[in-house]
Point group: C2
Chain length 484, copies 2
């Protein structure tokens, strides 16, 4: 029997949290004196009253959260948050369509950043703030999910490092999760504050600085401007480099940042995922720098900056842009498209396949060459000096196969809606990977407004399963999950 | 120390074989009284004299062929055959450029079928026959390679079935290879003859029937007509269905055909790779049939025939076409592009990733879902009722990772030569997978003539490594191979 009461109780508690942050957004609206105050405060009150009602009806719930309840809660949270979080857009009339509002909100909470807005600047400040906040909260959720919760389920890519994290043990779940979450959220908040200050120094106003810091640290990529960081007001190279640095940090395993802040740099640089992460960025950024300098005639600094910005933005799955990469050479577009399948590090706020999985796949392939030459030698795959058990390799393999399968089938679905090959592949890669901008008609200067309703719901589902490491949601569709 | 002498000796013997088949081609030319006779007979004599010379100088060679010699021989054979086999095209003036002639010939021997010819009908009969023969010989080579030789190296996907094949054992290599080869070549010849007769009945002339039978059984796809099977002379549905059946057989493990001919049908239908092979064909053919009927307005029979023909042609990596699929809806193009990564069965003449690998990847992914739900249960991946050892899964994983890595990097290289995204992806998928026609500017009614020289050499290399199951060639580039 599934413990339904505890599921409702957790939902209730989480709605109180959402109500709280909606309340804060309504204060922002109040401060700027705009028309969105009533929509925000109404939704806040709806969240509070629903939350309290749920909590009252489930007070006597059995506090045991088993694995199955865990899966259901995790998958539900993002959906429920998005359903309630979409209300201010609808109530205020800023996004009248329910489909569009839901798409925009789940794109926020999943830290994707795919938008249906054709005129972002027209949005009132309270809603803009709430839109950025959905990403920041989504990022918070992902940190605790990927570092503290999913490893217990044996998924998410962090199982490997479980010993290194001050993580949960089955017998005393709550205190450990809380402790881990507190430490890592501390870093998340710290980095966000640091970015706000640096962006302010770089010339942004406080509002833009706060919003972009929220969405950078979440690797979300929502901007307050239609042209993203390519907006003329943000043209200072200092702003670009600051955002590059914080996107990079947001795509780094937060436990490594924890070690770095405690001056344990040895632990950071010994981490192989981190080294591959840097390695991939350097290789892609260098090739694209040369391409921009040679083919597009940019000056060397701009070539380097535009290349690095786009590479870091895509690999971390943030999705900010400072240039329309669809205008670059086709081989650069293929490189950027390929990067969409890399993703941030495990334990970061980045999405997509993730560096640790790519790294292990590459290592296993290289070891296999050695095994072919020396068939009788035992040649394990190692990461951070430890050999990786075959079950983990098999798990990663399954993840990547599902990822590719979903990508291909979904691209066929999108193409069946009438899109060309490039747009179909791009929209799927950009939503499943929680990136935001794709290629083709969902490229960096385009958006998702033109996608038909069915397509928007379909892509919303991709954002959700991509964000929750596929298995979390897929197991819910497996009969074996519901048996017994 | 590598036993160089035995390598030269084997090359010498194989050149005698090539000389023999060039001699036969020259007789075809003589029969039709065309200008290509002297080019063919000259090349035949060059092969014979080189072969005899090599044999004379290496008579006293140590007969031990180790693994390393094996790898080198296998990789060299296709290159040497293509170098000599290109001569008739150059000497006759039919393809004046050495690059083009080599491309056309290695595309033949690797059973790819990618052509640089803009006017195939202008070629004299002897050269057309030789061109088809390169594919038929390539197919023969692949059968013995994939069923008898590569499993010894632990690569190629057939390791799994090694017990089921009357295959080689390390102590008595030669008699076993010979025995296996004889049996399977017998089936290959038998099927070729059967197809010739059926195509003749269908209305082809003898010459076209023989040529197309050669290139069908090899899953090669060279035609004597510029429009391939779409030529007005071949418009009879009977011809289409005959070719569909034989492409299907050519993409089936030849040991299964051996069992079928010995009326052991139980063994055939119990084979899971075979069942998945049929399953994939049915799914893709049905969806595309509906698409052609609904979107293109074809009548139901033509929808079904054109869909099935193209699906079987692409999945078996043959590359014949009866329709320009680039004119179909984008979602069908994506499906066809995805099919390019499936390939025939292990132990067939088909190329690409191969059904057994795809099947095992899918099964492993499905089992992983069960493992996530029941973490303490031991849930092995099974095929044909036997559980698959983790080393095999790891080997398949490595293969697919290399395949994807090579595909992506090569697509970037092709795009850097100035091609658009679609053409770059298509040219790479179609050559690495030994298919022939791709998508974009190398689509079904286009060819490879417009590709610059560097691109032609690059794609020739892809055909080679694709044909030799990647590892065979890649290990040659690994320092560990040459050590000790």
């Amino acid at each position: 029997m599934i413990n339904k009461k505890i599921i409702f109780q957790v939902m209730g508690l989480l709605l109180l949290i959402e109500g709280f942050f909606l309340g804060i957004s309504s204060l922002v609206s109040l401060f700027y004196g705009q028309y969105d105050f009533s929509a925000l405060i109404t939704t806040s009150l709806i969240c509070f009253s629903t939350g309290i009602t749920l909590w009252l009806f489930t007070k006597n719930a059995d506090k045991n959260i088993g694995k199955r309840e865990g899966y259901i809660i995790v998958s539900l949270v993002w959906v429920i948050f998005s359903l309630f979080g979409a209300l201010p857009f609808i109530l205020s009339g800023a996004i009248p369509s329910f489909t569009d509002a839901f798409f925009e909100t789940i794109s926020g909470f999943t830290t994707t950043g795919a938008s249906i807005l054709n005129d972002i600047e027209a949005l009132p400040y309270g809603l803009l703030f709430w839109r950025s906040l959905t990403q920041w909260l989504g990022g918070m959720g992902i940190i605790v999910l990927s570092i503290a919760i999913l490893p217990m389920f044996g998924i998410g890519g962090m199982q490997l490092f479980i010993a290194e994290v001050p993580g949960p043990t089955p017998d005393k779940l709550h205190p450990r999760i809380k402790e881990t979450a507190k430490r890592l959220w501390g870093i998340y908040v710290l980095f966000t504050l640091a970015e706000v200050i640096l962006l302010k120094i770089g010339g942004m106003n406080w509002f833009d600085a706060v919003n972009h810091s929220f969405t950078t640290m979440a690797t979300g990529g929502y901007s307050t401007k239609q042209a993203s960081i390519g907006d003329p007001g943000f043209s200072s190279p200092f702003i670009h480099y600051v955002i590059i640095v914080f996107m990079f940090l947001a795509g780094t395993n937060f436990t490594l940042s924890y070690f770095a802040l405690h001056l344990k740099f040895g632990k950071v640089f010994k981490n192989e995922e981190f080294r591959y992460y840097i390695g991939f960025i350097i290789i892609f950024a260098l090739v694209i720098t040369v391409a921009l300098w040679y083919f597009e005639g940019y000056n060397p600094e701009k070539s380097f900056r535009d290349s690095l910005f786009q590479v870091v933005s895509i690999i971390t799955t943030t999705g900010f842009v400072t240039a329309d990469y669809m205008l670059w050479k086709p081989f650069v577009i293929i490189m950027i498209f390929a990067l969409m399948f890399f993703g941030g590090s495990a334990g970061s706020t980045g999405g997509s396949i993730k560096i640790v999985r790519i790294t292990l796949l590459l290592k296993n392939s290289y070891q296999e060459l050695k095994r072919i030459i020396h068939p009788n030698a035992i040649i394990p795959v190692r990461i951070n000096g430890k050999s990786v058990p075959p079950q983990i390799i098999s798990n990663i393999l399954a993840f990547v196969v599902f990822y590719m399968l979903i990508s291909i089938v979904s691209s066929i679905v999108m193409a069946a809606l009438g899109y060309d090959v490039e747009t179909s592949l791009g929209a799927v890669a950009a939503t499943l990977g929680n990136i935001g901008p794709g290629i083709g008609r969902v490229g960096p200067i385009e958006n998702y407004a033109h996608i038909p309703y069915f397509g928007k719901w379909f892509l919303s589902f991709l954002m959700l399963i991509g964000r929750l490491e596929l298995f979390t949601v897929i197991v819910l569709f497996s009969p074996a999950f519901w048996k017994k």
